[in-house]
Each structure stands twice: as C-alpha cells, then as structure tokens.
Subunit: 255 residues, 2 copies
Amino acid sequence: MAKKPLILVTNDDGITAPGIRKLIEVMNTIGEVVVVAPDSPQSGMGHAITIDSMLTCDKIKVEEGEQTEYKCSGTPADCVKIAIREVLDRKPDICVSGINHGSNSSINVIYSGTMSAAIEAGIEGIPAIGFSLLDYSWNANFDVLKEEIKKITLNVLENGLPEGVVLNVNFPKSEGAFAGIKVCRQAKGNWIEDFDKRVNPIGKEYYWLSGRYELMDKGEDTDEWALAHNYISVVPTQFDLTAHHFIQKLNNWEL
Amino acid sequence: MAKKPLILVTNDDGITAPGIRKLIEVMNTIGEVVVVAPDSPQSGMGHAITIDSMLTCDKIKVEEGEQTEYKCSGTPADCVKIAIREVLDRKPDICVSGINHGSNSSINVIYSGTMSAAIEAGIEGIPAIGFSLLDYSWNANFDVLKEEIKKITLNVLENGLPEGVVLNVNFPKSEGAFAGIKVCRQAKGNWIEDFDKRVNPIGKEYYWLSGRYELMDKGEDTDEWALAHNYISVVPTQFDLTAHHFIQKLNNWEL
C-alpha cells in the first residue's frame, strides 16, 4: 500500500478501556487512525442501534498519540454508522474493533458489541476485524497481543476480505506463548443461565443474569478447541444469516 | 400432537403492542400460551442482553384470554432466557415472536429484537418463528395475517425445525390478498444513513439516526423480491455465523 491506510477503531467496552487503547497504539504504527467509540461500556449490546433517542458524537483526546478520537453516546453499531456518515471524509480501508475484555468465541459472537461493530463495517463493504482476549480483567496483559494483531491486520489490508465476511479473532489468556493462529469455525455452545433472584428492600423480586458456558461440540476445528489449546482463533464470520441448506426441504412443506 | 403444545410468545415492541396481542389471540387457538415480553418498546435492540443491571419479571394480565402473561424489564433475548429458566416449568414446544410492527427482511434481521428472541429460543433448541408485518403503524391490520400465522405455526409444530435454524417470516402490507408463501434467502441490502444533525438550546450538536434502505440484490429468490410481489417471505435463519466458504482460502494466508 503506497498511501497510509485509513483505520477506523472502535469497541464496546468504551473509549477509555485499556483494550482499545492498546489497539490504537498498534494501529498508529500502521496507518492514519480515527477512533469513534462509545463513551460508556456497551458489553452485551449485540447489534443494537439507537432509534428512540438522540446521539452525541464529540471530539476528545483520551491519550497522547497521532490518532483522532471521538466519543459517541451510542452503541458500537451506532459508532460505526456515525463514523462513516458524519466523521470520516472517505471510506476507511479497514475497521478494527476491540480489544474486547472477554471472549467472543462460539455463541458469544451473537451477543457481542465488539463483533457488531465489525459486522456493521462489513455491511458497509469495509474489511473488518473484531479482536477479543479471554480475560475479563481490566488490567489484562494486552501487550503480548500487539505483534499478532499487527500481523493479522496487515494480512487483511493486503489480501482484503470477500464481500459479506469479517474476521472474529480471539486470543487465549496467555503470556504470549501462543501455539499459533488457527482458522476455525464457530463452536456450538450455549449459556446455561442461572438467574440470581433477589428481593429489594420493599419486598419486590428482581434478577441478575448470570450463568456458565457449555460447549456442545467435540470438533477440533472450532474456536473453542483452538483457544483451549492456546491457539489464537480466527473465524470468518458472515451476516447473511440464511440457512441455505434448509431451503430445499422447506420448499416441500405444505405452506 | 396429542397434548396441547406449550407456546412461548414474545416480541420487541412491548407487551401491550397490537402485534403481540394478535399473535396471542392466534396462539390461544393452538395451545397453552405463556407470554414473557418486554414492558417497553425494544426495537433495534439486536441481540442485546442485560448484564450491567437487574431485571424484573412480573405476572400481569394485559387482556382477557387463556394466556398467562409476564412483563419483563429486559430485552427480547432476556425475555426468552428468563422465560426458559425462571417462568416455565418445562421446555416450550415452540416460541413465536412478534408480530413486529415493521420489516425484518434483508439486513434488518441483524438489528431485529423480534428475531433475536426467536434466535435465542433456537439456541435453546426450541423451534422458533419471528413474524413481522411491513407496516410501522400502531394500528396496522393484523387480522388478515391470522390464518397464515396459524398455518405456518402448525407446520413448524408438525415438522419441527433442524438444529440451528429458526424462521424469519415477513408479511407484505396488504389487505390479505397475498400471492402466497415463498421460501427465500435474505436479500443483500443496506441502510444508507442520513443523520439528522441538530443543535440543542445550549448550542451543543446532537444527531438523530435516520436513513433509507437500499436493495443491492436483483435475485428473484430473495425476501425483498417476494415482499415486493405481495408474497409472504419465509427465510430459514441460522446463528452459526461461520463463513464456511472462506475457510479454505483463509488457511492459505501467511498468518
């Protein structure tokens, strides 16, 4: 690439999260960086967009560096939309989202704000990657991911991605001694919720959502297998949700 | 089916919306109905879940009828989770979501709270259908959909759905003279946002998200084609987002 690529950076943990700060640091070594990220944490927002209230999007400087930064009151998907339509004067060459504090492997991709931002960029025809680390700690060690993130990003800039495909990259919790990078499929798995039922001071019941993840997939080609074996997982992810394999059968129903 | 099927009903427009009231009316003619639906509108919530705040779920009776009803403070996906884990004493035979006031065809499926509820049920291994009508009006004519909704629901109860597949059903705005039911794929299309930029009384800028849908797909096998030709569209929809077709190629990258 002759010209410096324009890189849009966003996330779902909010613009001040250590994960996005590290991602910005890496992207500053690759191209011209514009950050448009939520002003507050948006985990679990899935592909929510804001249609019932207004949005704000304000220039800000969170940290030193060559990046330009904007904080937005909306969801991760809102951030990408407003970046493309209002903030940037040309289409970015790539959009990177993350680094998420926690996993977006397996079924988590469905609930993920990080991945919804990448998917929103993908819908706009922009090559996009979501990065996540399997460590929910605010002080997780993101430094050990820098080299791998740069390599994957440069690969996408070099090779592009087919229409309708974005990458979902997850890093195992590790001190950097990764077994390698594995291209995977999304593992079949599910959350077994265990709602924590409580009673408030005036006697009314309420709940906290909690639960544990259950893997239902013994395949060795899944993201869960890769991560459990200290590999970085890369799942090509699409937003055509059509279950093409079922169309033939469905056509024979008595509808 | 010898026993009356247990039917979980939810939506994203809120428990008092005319769309869900009509859906409940139809389901009462088929089985034992339990409603767990949001206490306020949740359009555009995508697959959001509530992890940063508490949830309430309270028994309520919105209208006469044989159904049991609960209003929940969470998103559509939360409603399905709490219904399965806390409200119902057995796994429902089917989950129906809607009738949504507005379209969930094409890329709208990604932003849809209605479909996220159906997908959440699908993740739990429950056959599920999202129903939507291409009419945003609160007073849309849902009566003309009753027969078709019943037919589709009975078909799913009879035939089941394969693991990992739910149905996305959209009705054209029509007075009931449908051309028929068409099994379709999700059309390629996108929203071209046009943010409405305003200035508040103290001089600060803010935005309203708005825009128009652009179809980028000339196929005659898409939901958009079907709806434009007065057909009811049925898209089998999956939540394994893996872009399997790109795995081979990605394996040849220098990662």
